[in-house]
């Protein structure tokens, strides 16, 4: 259960959402798209088209080659201690074949997305039907969505209930803007919502459904609108993976020179710890994303070297303050500068 906290203007999280669905189509998985905001048909029409491997490899390969030729084997003179650290690789240059790449400037062709079986749930079209399940005092929109998901899972045999079916497929579920007012939940409106448990009950039952069947789910939630932080904590506990996207639009970080190459930060709050004692933690937890014309990339955040000598004290404090958040080798250099300022 992948839980995404939306960025303020919902530009980037909807991109992630579309990537998830597009990957499902390319892999031949079945799709289930639910939304209260726009009709799922429209969502499907906007999916990015997959890139053939050669074109992508060539593009990124060119960039990497250009960068490499500049700094061949300069041995470091002052910071020689850092010589032995592996070179910081901003984006993965070894293309292990995991997943596909997409070109967001082009839309996916209709033949491609019609080649898989997909189901949709548009809240406003479903209002007329009454749920047949016990709602457990849950919001009726959520209850209907759960019922719909459960019906698809059992009908299409994703839970292994039909032993005749030889081809087992995976169901990818995407739910957009859960918890927003459009779903009938007032979690985003007030500090003490009327029914504080609808969202968490929904997530728990959804988790049960996912564990019982061959499906994966991505949910986007406008976390910045939810006033009651306690609910966010509970929701984090109930999800397997929680990723937050923070975009720089309209915030003071947009003009911060630290972040000038990027469009936002990626906060990984939780990673799944399934079937083992440990989880696969990566080396660094500071990730930033940027939106190029054709590509949405997530890279490690690294500080540009602080080269200017007329930087005023205030902005140096800023840099050092943000550098405290970093845990990579480069960060130490900026913090060192702060300590020299006395």
């Amino acid at each position: 259960l992948v839980f995404t906290e939306e960025d303020k203007y919902n530009l980037y999280s909807s991109l992630l959402f579309k990537y998830f669905l597009a990957e499902g189509i390319v892999c031949g998985h079945d799709l289930f798209v639910a939304s209260a905001k726009e009709h799922p048909d429209n969502i499907l029409k906007e999916l990015p088209s997959p890139l053939l491997d050669d074109t992508y490899r060539k593009e990124v390969g060119d960039e990497a080659a250009a960068a490499k030729s500049e700094d061949l084997q300069d041995s470091m003179k002052i910071a020689w201690r850092y010589q032995n650290l592996p070179k910081m690789e901003a984006s993965p240059t070894t293309y292990t074949k995991f997943g596909h790449y997409y070109d967001i400037s082009k839309k996916m062709s209709p033949e491609l997305y019609q080649s898989v079986k997909w189901h949709s749930f548009y809240l406003h079209e479903e209002l007329s039907l009454e749920p047949e399940m016990k709602t457990c005092n849950m919001n009726s929109g959520y209850a209907r969505l759960l019922q719909s998901i459960q019906r698809i899972i059992s009908q299409e045999g994703f839970d292994g209930s039909d032993p005749q079916k030889k081809q087992r497929n995976v169901l990818r579920i995407g739910i957009q803007s859960l918890g927003s007012v459009l779903w009938g939940d007032d979690v985003c409106c007030s500090d003490t919502p009327e029914d504080a448990h609808s969202l968490t009950k929904f997530l728990y039952i959804l988790r049960g459904l996912l564990r019982k069947s061959l499906s994966a789910c991505i949910i986007t939630v406008p976390a910045h609108l939810i006033q009651n932080k306690a609910i966010m904590e509970r929701v984090t506990n109930l999800s397997d993976m929680v990723v937050g996207l923070e975009s720089f639009i309209g915030s003071e970080r947009e003009t911060n020179p630290l972040y000038k190459d990027y469009h936002g930060l990626v906060h990984v709050h939780q990673i799944p710890r399934l079937n083992s004692l440990i989880c696969d933690v990566s080396d660094t937890k500071d990730l930033a994303f940027r939106l190029k014309r054709k590509l949405f990339t997530i890279e490690r955040l690294h500080l540009p070297p602080d080269l200017s000598d007329t930087v005023s004290r205030a902005s140096k404090q800023d840099l050092a303050g943000s550098a405290k958040l970093l845990s990579s080798g480069c960060g130490a250099m900026a913090i060192g500068k702060k300590h020299l300022d006395f």
Partner: protein, 247 residues
Amino acid sequence: QGKFTLLRDSRTDGSFLVHHFLSFYLRAGCKVCFVALLQSFSHYNIVAQKLGVNLAAAKERGQLVFLEGLKSCLDLVFGEEEQPGQPSPLQFLSTSDLRALFDFVRLSLTPADGDSCTGPVLLVDDLSVLLSLGAAPVAVLDFIHYCRMSVCCQLKGNVVVLVHSNEDSEDEENELVVNSLCHHSDLILWAEGLATGFCKDVHGQIKIIKRQSLRQAAEQDLVQIYQYKIQDRNVTFFARGLSAAVL
């Protein structure tokens, strides 16, 4: 015997403690009732196999009673009407009443004829989920109290419960439950993420608090702090600052 152990985690995942206690008690031959609310049976089974215990076999021979919350809630919500004499233990999803859950626990741990197991154990993973599912904090505390009375006092067994908490948490209900449980526990194992942030070699710090002040009025609580690193099959503990990466 008759001890209440509280497992607490902040800023990190303390579920490795649950896996440890589960395999520990099963290996000791105790009858275990495991209320697993957050993960599926296969998850615990796979980890337990790495630790050398077979959960499926334990379930077969009746040593382990496993309540799989995720599966039972699906039966409750999407299944047919249940028989009036057998309410589902997860009934609190619709009625916010934890009594059915307590009855389930008591029934499964009361020794039947021909039971060769020593002391019963109740293991809960995790209690904070009950609050998310609509139970009031007072109801949760009552449930734990009833469990303690019947398992610890009447049946001379042990109770181990996992809760999540954060220092700057805004979830007041959860904090209320956690603080109240801390006061009543005999032993607290508190797994915390490091205050300085994430580290590859030291996954966290564990505080072991033996509440000797509960037994005798003048005694102080004994607090021990270790750091730990979780590996695939076990967890290594070491004194603070003495991680293998540093030495």
